[in-house]
């Protein structure tokens, strides 16, 4: 009985491993293409039939893109925009998330639903009118304009997620803290937030990636080249007449790398955080 069960598990496992490998192949094939293409020379990359692997692997493309484009500045700008988005978003979403999750007030459902509705709009639809507002408040060509826009587009989802985490925390814990003399805000900061931290990390990652990968707002609001983030910088490899594929892919690899490392570092919290946000008791 025990043996058959073990066998069953073994069979399941090998089936699952095979399935996973097939799925991974499907999902990662483009990145495999990216890895081999960025190591090719321009002569190799335009060879027909294509080479599966580079004949003479070279890192020349990296030095080329690093020297011809201000990648360091692009990185700095992306970082400012992504972190700024995280900061602004956290600053406004945490109180709002706390309010909808733990306080009783008239119009709660309406507000939750209203936040959800705003997710329906694509940036494409509102970017022109947003642009006019940005001009009016004299924020054109500032990082802040891009940060605000990204924060606005991430806030609804984050409030929904936070609503999930905060309502999952037993009421008793907060009450205990308040009996110990904490104010509501004190309890939020000292008790609720630390408990909800894994969830918060998830929303922070989500916001960070959104800001890091922003394209349309930077394109519309930033006017000077020294403020361009990586996504816009990468666009410069797509010329009017030709695309420098091997260089574009090398630069794209560099752009993805930091997010990837971040992902790998916090992947565990990300998964448990997503669970806390959605599954609530």
């Amino acid at each position: 009985m025990d043996l058959t069960k073990k066998n069953r598990i073994r069979i399941t496992n090998s089936f699952v491993i095979l399935l996973t490998m097939a799925l991974l192949l499907l999902m990662l094939f483009p990145f495999f293409v990216m890895l081999v293409s960025m190591l090719k020379t321009s002569k190799e990359i335009y060879h027909i039939p294509p080479y599966w692997l580079p004949k003479h692997p070279t890192l020349k493309n990296f030095s080329l893109v690093w020297n011809t484009f201000p990648l360091a500045a692009f990185f700095r700008n992306s970082l400012i925009i992504a972190l700024g988005t995280v900061a602004l978003n956290t600053f406004i979403s945490v109180p709002a998330g706390y309010a909808v999750a733990r306080l009783h007030f008239p119009g709660k459902k309406f507000i939750l639903f209203a936040f959800l509705i705003t997710q329906m709009f694509s940036p494409v639809v509102v970017v022109i009118s947003l642009f006019k507002i940005i001009i009016k408040i004299h924020l054109i060509d500032t990082y802040l304009s891009v940060i605000i826009a990204n924060a606005v587009f991430t806030t609804p989802f984050v409030i929904w997620m936070l609503n999930g985490y905060f309502s999952g925390i037993p009421k008793g814990i907060e009450d205990a803290a308040r009996i110990d003399g904490c104010s509501r805000v004190g309890a939020l900061l000292r008790v609720i937030l630390p408990i909800a931290a894994p969830g918060l990390v998830t929303t922070i990652i989500y916001t960070f990636i959104y800001g890091w990968n922003d394209f349309i707002f930077s394109l519309s609001f930033l006017q000077t080249g020294n403020k361009y983030p990586l996504t816009m910088g990468l666009y410069q490899f797509v010329g009017r007449f030709a695309i420098q594929w091997e260089q574009l892919l090398a630069a794209a690899f560099l752009a993805i790398l930091p997010v990837l490392i971040l992902f790998f570092l916090v992947e565990k919290q990300l998964v448990s955080g997503l669970a806390g946000g959605a599954v609530k008791e």
């Binding site: 002569k43 972190l83 956290t90 642009f131 802040l144 940060i147 937030l193 922070i204 519309s220």
Partner: protein, 408 residues
């Protein structure tokens, strides 16, 4: 976990403070000088360090100005100009495709450059390049102009066609051993150049004098049927042509896999990049038998914007830029033959490719100057692809397109 959280908060706070500092700090600096803004399109080959050199040299010579010379990629340029014009904060001047001029005039956002740019600069520009003349007034300063021509891979064919019919014949001969006779970009993209090559070669015009679309004229049908024949019947065109815009199709030629391609000034730079083991040669895009040659010419201009903050300063800068000393190296980088008379005589512009372009210039025809061109060309693209997919006949599709264009 708690540590991670605290770390994140700290980083976030750092981020926001640095943002504020950057955002404000950059505004305060240099308020003494009057700023001048110029948007330079990111032509292939432009050396960004050289652009900075120009900027520094101009500021050194004119210390009263703070020049912002921004290189904007072509794909973003139109969007960015639209949004900035809509908000009333355009640059003082920008490179634009000459065919946008009429649209901008229609909106009343550009001013004639003569009031700000000196006469000596204009006198040095080839008269043939002055394309942006509307009702007798020049509305844009020619910046780059290049006719399209035929590039030939001499390892696959040596023949120079003098008619489209010959081109078809030679392309059929060259199609073997996995090589293609001719490259034809058939994937929808923002330029309608490839149809225009054949259409103009058949003596066609996009509009009649009254402004009605004539894409469904005999010339239009002839050109489109010819294209479809090349692709679907003769099969001399690359297999995936319908999925490939120009940027995806032309590397097939540069990779040595096709005999002919109709191309522009960037051909030599792209060819050089490949270190190819075959030789390239240049010729004219041939007309159909019985027609006159009419290669397409594409020109870019500098437009001065009415809402610009410093038109005086931008005029000074354009004078500065158009000296041979600065403009000729830029032309060389872009690969376009110079529009200025003195620079065109310099030895670096006497290569076979420039000779082919100079010859093409004699008969060249530009885009029609009309408003609503992007939508017009999108309608024509859809019609062309319908015929190529075999969904409609050329005559029916072009009739439908012409009706849709006239209804705009």
């Amino acid at each position: 976990m708690k540590k991670v959280f605290i770390l994140f908060t700290l980083i976030a706070l750092l981020g926001v403070t640095s943002t504020m500092l950057f955002a404000n700090g950059q505004k305060d600096s240099g308020s003494e000088k009057s700023s001048v803004t110029f948007w330079l399109a990111d032509y292939e080959g432009i050396d960004h360090d050289y652009v900075k050199e120009i900027e520094a040299a101009f500021e050194a010579e004119n210390p009263q100005y703070d020049l912002e010379l921004l290189v904007v990629d072509w794909n973003a340029l139109n969007d960015k100009l639209t949004t900035s014009l809509a908000a009333g904060t355009p640059p003082d001047a920008s490179i634009i495709g000459t065919r946008w001029i009429l649209e901008y005039m229609d909106l009343g956002v550009i001013v004639p450059p003569q009031d700000y740019v000196s006469k000596s600069t204009f006198d040095n520009i080839a008269p043939g390049a002055m394309e942006a003349v509307v009702d007798g007034t020049l509305m844009g300063i020619p910046f780059a102009a290049g006719s399209r021509f035929l590039a030939i891979n001499t390892s696959l064919t040596d023949k120079v066609p003098s008619t489209m019919e010959e081109l078809e014949q030679y392309a059929i001969e060259a199609t073997k051993d996995g090589k293609y006779g001719l490259i034809m970009p058939g994937g929808k993209h923002s330029e309608l150049t490839d149809f225009a090559y054949y259409f103009y070669s058949a003596g066609g015009d996009f509009f009649d004098i009254g402004g009605k679309s004539t894409v469904n004229s005999a010339a239009g049908v002839k050109a489109l049927e010819f294209m479809v024949k090349l692709a679907n019947e003769d099969k001399v065109v690359q297999e995936g042509y319908l999925s490939q815009s120009r940027k995806q199709a032309q590397p097939i030629f540069m990779g040595g896999k096709a005999a002919y391609v109709m191309i522009g000034a960037w051909a030599q730079t792209e060819y050089d990049k490949m270190n190819a083991d075959w030789d390239i040669k240049y010729a004219q895009i041939p007309p159909f038998a019985g027609n006159d040659p009419a290669p397409l010419i594409i020109t870019d201009s500098i437009a001065l914007f009415k809402d610009g903050k410093n038109l005086e300063g931008i005029g000074k800068f354009i004078d500065f830029l158009y000296q041979d000393k600065w403009k000729a190296p830029l032309d060389k980088q872009m690969g376009f033959p110079p529009v200025t008379i003195t620079a065109a005589q310099r030895p670096e512009f006497q290569t076979p490719m420039y000779a082919a372009m100079a010859e093409a210039n004699l008969n060249a025809k530009g885009w029609p100057l009309v408003t609503g061109w992007p939508e017009t060309s999108s309608i024509m693209w859809d019609a062309i692809q319908k015929v190529e997919l075999g969904q409609m006949s050329a005559q029916d599709a072009l009739n439908e397109a012409a009706a849709a264009i006239d209804a705009l």
